[in-house]
C-alpha cells in the first residue's frame, strides 16, 4: 500500500535537496576543474561548515538504522556506539591537526598521498588506497540500503526509486564535488535533529515515560521474549570496550572521514570540531534508545526490510506518526544517506585517481585538470558499483563486507597515524604488519563460529583464553607488534634510520604571510 501524504512530503524534500546539490557548484566559487577544488572544496571550509559536513558524513543513515536495530535485537551491547563516538574525539584532537597540516603543506588529497611521501613508497600507498576503497564500497552500498528501508516502509517500488535517487545523487556530485554534500548536510542535519527531538519527546509520553519503556524491556527479557537487556552482562565487558576502542581507532582512517577533515580551513577548525562533534554522539545515543522504545511499543519488524531487524526504526516511526510527519522523518533518514554516500564516493574516487591511476596507469602524473576529470568519472563508477552491489547481493552479505571493511581499515593505522609520531618505522615492516593484520582479521572473520565477520570473536592466544573481543582490535595488536619489531630489526641491521620522506618542518604551520 502506498502512503500518499508521506510520499508527497518525502518527494518535496528530496527535490529541495537535489536543487541545492546542483546550486552548490556556485557556492564559494572555485575552479572545479582542479581536484583540490572538486574533491576538497578548496580546503576552505570553516568551523561551522566542517561541523555540519563531518557530522553529516560520519553519522550515516545506515548508522541511524542499524544502531537501534542492534539495541532492539540484543540490548545494551548496541550502546557501544556511545563510548566509541565519545573517545574518538580526543584521538582526533591530537592526531588530525598534524595530518591536516602535512597534507596542507605538501598538497596531499588522500591519506595514501601522505603515506607515499612519508615512506617514499608508492607500493605502500597503493595498499592503503586499495584498503580504503574496498572498505568504503560496502559502506556506500549500506547507505543505499538505508534509503531502501524507508522507501519500503512507504510502499513504493524499491528498485526504481533507488535508481532514480542514486542517478540524481551521482549527477550533482559529478557537477559540484564536495561542495554538494557540504551544503546538503545543512538541510540533512536540520531534518535529523527535528526528527530525533520530536521522536524522543513524543514517543516516551505515548509509552508512559522512560521508566515504563525500560520496565517493559526488562520484563520482556525476563520472560525470554527479547534479548534487549538494559544492562551489560559481565560476559560482554571485554567485547564492549574492545568494540568501542577499536571502532574509535578505525573511524578517522576511513577515506570519507579524512576527506571531510582535509577540507577544513585550518588546524584550529579541526580542533574545534573535535570539541563540538560529540553533539552528534548525543543524538546517536538518543536514536539508539529508539530500539528500547520499539520493544516497549511491541513494534513488528516489517518482512520487506531484509537484514534482520533493520526495518525497526521506520516501522516504529510509521506506528507512531503515520502521515506527513512520518514522511518528513523518512526523508530525514534518506537525505541522511546522501551526504555520506557522496563524500565516500568522492574519497574513493580521489584514492583511485591519486594513488592508482596517476601513480601506476599514467606514470609521472598528469595535469590537475585531467586528474579532476578522472576523479569525477571514478565517483560515478563507484556509486554505480555500490548500487549494483546492494541490488544484486544479499543485504546480510553486504553487512558482512562492511564489518570486514572495518577490520581492514584499522590495519592502516601504523602507516597513516603511527607514522606521524614514530620516525623509525620501516616501510617493509609496515607492509608486513598490514598483511598480518588483514590476514588474521580475515581468518578470524571467516572462521568465526558466532557468524561470518561477527563483531565479537572468542579469542584464545597460545592457550590463554582472552574472552570475547572485537577481532579487528586483536588483529591490530598483532599488526602493531610486527610493525614495531620489524622496524627495530631494520634500524639495528642498517645502523640508521629508515626512509622518511617528510621533514619535521613539514608538520608545522607556514609562517604568517609566508
Amino acid at each position: 500500500m502506498i502512503h500518499g501524504s508521506e510520499l508527497a512530503v518525502f518527494i518535496a524534500l528530496f527535490l529541495l535537496v537535489t536543487v541545492i546539490g546542483f546550486l552548490a557548484a556556485r557556492w564559494r566559487r572555485g575552479d572545479l576543474t582542479l581536484l583540490s577544488e572538486w574533491g576538497l572544496g578548496g580546503r576552505r571550509f570553516g568551523s561551522v561548515v566542517t561541523w555540519f559536513l563531518l557530522g553529516g558524513d560520519l553519522y550515516t543513515a545506515y548508522t541511524f538504522v542499524a544502531v537501534p536495530a542492534l539495541v532492539f535485537a540484543k540490548g545494551a551491547i548496541g550502546l557501544f556506539a556511545l563510548p566509541y563516538t565519545i573517545i574518538v574525539y580526543p584521538i582526533v584532537y591530537v592526531v588530525m591537526p598534524k595530518l591536516w597540516q602535512a597534507a596542507r603543506n605538501l598538497g596531499h588529497i588522500t591519506p595514501a598521498d601522505y603515506v607515499r611521501d612519508r615512506f617514499n613508497s608508492p607500493f605502500l600507498a597503493l595498499l592503503i588506497a586499495i584498503t580504503g576503497i574496498v572498505a568504503t564500497m560496502p559502506y556506500i552500498a549500506l547507505q543505499i540500503f538505508g534509503i531502501q528501508v524507508v522507501i519500503a516502509q512507504m510502499g513504493v517500488n524499491v528498485e526504481i526509486s533507488l535508481i532514480v535517487a542514486f542517478v540524481v545523487l551521482a549527477l550533482y556530485t559529478y557537477v559540484s564535488g564536495l561542495r554538494a554534500p557540504a551544503l546538503i548536510a545543512l538541510v540533512k542535519d536540520a531534518l535529523i535533529w527535528i526528527t530525533v527531538i520530536v521522536a524522543v519527546v513524543y514517543i516516551p509520553t505515548k509509552l508512559g515515560g522512560f521508566g515504563a519503556i525500560f520496565h517493559s524491556s526488562e520484563t520482556a527479557v525476563h520472560a525470554l521474549k527479547s534479548k534487549a537487556t538494559d544492562n551489560l552482562p559481565s560476559t560482554l565487558y571485554l567485547a564492549y570496550s574492545t568494540l568501542a576502542f577499536g571502532s574509535a581507532l578505525a573511524l578517522f582512517l576511513y577515506p570519507h572521514a579524512i576527506t571531510g577533515t582535509f577540507a577544513a580551513r585550518s588546524q584550529a577548525t579541526v580542533r574545534r570540531n573535535a570539541a563540538f562533534l560529540p553533539a552528534y554522539s548525543f543524538m546517536l545515543g538518543l536514536i539508539a534508545l529508539l530500539g528500547y522504545m520499539a520493544v516497549a511499543a511491541k513494534t513488528h519488524t516489517p518482512p520487506a526490510s531484509g537484514g534482520g531487524t533493520n526495518g525497526i526504526v521506520p516501522a516504529l516511526l510509521e506506528q507512531m506518526f503515520a502521515g506527513p510527519l512520518a514522511g518528513f522523518m523518512f526523508a530525514a533518514i534518506a537525505i541522511g544517506a546522501l551526504v555520506p554516500a557522496a563524500v565516500m564516493s568522492i574519497a574513493a574516487a580521489n584514492l583511485f585517481t591519486r594513488n592508482v591511476w596517476r601513480q601506476y596507469l599514467r606514470r609521472g602524473g598528469d595535469s590537475p585538470a585531467r586528474e579532476a576529470a578522472v576523479s569525477k568519472v571514478a565517483s560515478l563508477v563507484v556509486k554505480l558499483g555500490a548500487l549494483v552491489f546492494i541490488l544484486t547481493v544479499n543485504t546480510s552479505e553486504v553487512i558482512n563486507f562492511q564489518l570486514a571493511g572495518g577490520v581492514w581499515i584499522l590495519q592502516t593505522l601504523p602507516a597513516v597515524i603511527l607514522a606521524l609520531y614514530v620516525r623509525w618505522l620501516d616501510r617493509w615492516a609496515v607492509v608486513a604488519g598490514w598483511a598480518v593484520g588483514v590476514g588474521l582479521g580475515t581468518y578470524w572473520g571467516v572462521t568465526n563460529p558466532a557468524g561470518l565477520f561477527s563483531s565479537t570473536y572468542n579469542l584464545n592466544v597460545f592457550g590463554w583464553h582472552v574472552g570475547s573481543v572485537y577481532p579487528g582490535l586483536a588483529a591490530f595488536v598483532a599488526n602493531l607488534v610486527v610493525v614495531l619489531a620489524g622496524s627495530a630489526v631494520s634500524v639495528a641491521v642498517r645502523r640508521g634510520m629508515p626512509v622518511n620522506g617528510i621533514a619535521e618542518r613539514d608538520y608545522l604551520p607556514a609562517p604568517v604571510g609566508g
Binding site: F214, L232, S234
Partner: protein
C-alpha cells in the same frame, strides 16, 4: 616559534593539558565500573544515563584543552 620563554611556557602547559584527554578513556573503557541498572535517573538505568553524561563531560574536557591551546600559534 617557541623560542621566547613565554612561548615555551605555553607549550609546556599545552603538553600537560593533553593528559586531560585521557579522562574519557578511563571513564568509559572499563564497563564493570558502570554496568549497573541502579541508581536510575528518571527511570533510565545507570548504565545508559552514565554514558550520556560522559558525552557532555567529553565535550567539556576537549573544550577546556582547546581553550588552553589557543594562542599557541595555530589559532588562525
Amino acid at each position: 616559534m617557541d623560542t621566547t620563554p613565554e612561548g615555551g611556557g605555553r607549550r609546556r602547559r599545552r603538553r600537560w593539558a593533553l593528559v586531560l584527554l585521557l579522562i574519557p578513556f578511563v571513564a568509559l573503557l572499563y564497563p564493570p565500573f558502570y554496568a549497573s541498572l541502579t541508581p536510575r535517573f528518571a527511570g533510565i538505568p545507570f548504565f545508559i544515563w552514565y554514558q550520556f553524561l560522559w558525552v557532555v563531560i567529553g565535550v567539556v574536557v576537549t573544550g577546556v584543552v582547546y581553550a588552553l591551546d589557543r594562542g599557541d600559534g595555530d589559532g588562525r
